[in-house]
């Protein structure tokens, strides 16, 4: 009861994670623009975006615990938490030099595919049911399609396209998550079964 009163609304959590994705995107764009050698001149900077991704994965666990209303919802959030932590940890390992094989970048691709699949599977309504359904379908297919960028990074670690593509992916995630609201129409569509629009 008390937890329910002090708990922030779910869309606020989406917006905080969106802000996290904006930060990730800025870091990745900068790294892609200046190149790996310049980026790594200050050792702490190498750990910045992988560490941030790992932290976002850790923070996804409280979201899974406190903000999910069904088993499938909880499993989806749990899978995001795990793959974000996995991708962040693999990138941290690469940054530290403990992992040397560039194919470890593929864990980020795996994370995107698992996340995209989970978001598509746990959304049971059609695209234009209401805004949240549309955003779920959009983010799911975006994640799956954009998993090509970390795969490209595994093949060509210095690829500018791979770096900027992953940054663009996170920016799209941010826009989609910022667009998430409580029950709201999408392009003028709102299913009768979705309920009354709130905000």
């Amino acid at each position: 009861m008390i937890a329910g009163r002090i708990q922030p609304p779910a869309e606020l959590v989406h917006w905080w994670f969106a802000t996290g994705f904006v930060i990730l995107a800025l870091l990745l764009i900068s790294e892609a623009v200046v190149g790996e050698e310049v980026w790594a001149r200050r050792p702490w900077r190498r750990y910045l975006w992988p560490g941030f991704l790992f932290a976002m994965g850790v923070l996804m666990f409280p979201v899974m615990t406190f903000f999910t209303s069904s088993t499938i919802h909880m499993l989806a959030h749990g899978s995001w938490a795990q793959v974000m932590m996995l991708a962040g940890a693999a990138e941290l390992g690469l940054a530290r030099g403990k992992l040397r094989n560039p194919w470890w970048h593929a864990t980020t691709a795996l994370g995107l595919v698992v996340s995209g699949t989970a978001v598509l599977v746990h959304e049971q309504n059609s695209w234009f049911f209401e805004r949240a359904a549309f955003l779920h379908h959009t983010i799911g297919w975006t994640a799956i399609a954009c998993s090509i960028f970390p795969l490209l990074k595994a093949v060509r670690p210095r690829s500018l396209t791979a770096g900027l593509g992953l940054a663009a992916t996170f920016l799209i995630f941010a826009v989609i998550l910022y667009a998430d609201r409580d029950i709201a129409p999408i392009f003028g569509h709102l299913s009768y079964f979705a309920g009354m629009p709130h905000r």
């Binding site: 609304p9 606020l12 930060i23 800025l26 900068s30 910022y178």
Partner: protein, 106 residues
């Protein structure tokens, strides 16, 4: 300057000098991109606030609870842009220019 002198000057520029100046121009361009990322982000946040002012509950705080007053997404974007420009961009650009100078010196 006559066209003849300009032509002579251009022809006396050595290939390695041209390569160096191309490298420093590239570094300068990259530095400008990094320096503009933060302001671009902040400008995007301001533009968003202008397009959707209802997303800023601080503009009409009556009846809003604590969390809705904390949630100001356009301001988050502005804040990220400003902090990136102030905290990260200067160091990245300094390292980029230092690397370019070292490459020219070699």
């Amino acid at each position: 300057m006559s066209a003849d002198i300009a032509h002579t000057l251009r022809s006396t520029t050595q290939p390695h000098e041209r390569a160096e100046s191309a490298a420093s121009i590239a570094a300068s361009l990259r530095a400008r991109i990094v320096l503009s990322l933060g302001p671009a982000g902040a400008a995007a946040g301001v533009l968003w606030a202008l397009l959707q002012p209802w997303r800023l509950t601080l503009l009409h705080p009556a009846g809003q609870g604590f969390w809705w007053l904390v949630a100001e997404p356009p301001l988050y974007v502005v804040l990220v842009g400003v902090l990136f420009r102030l905290l990260l961009a200067p160091g990245i650009v300094a390292d980029l220019l230092a690397a370019a100078e070292e490459a020219e010196a070699e």
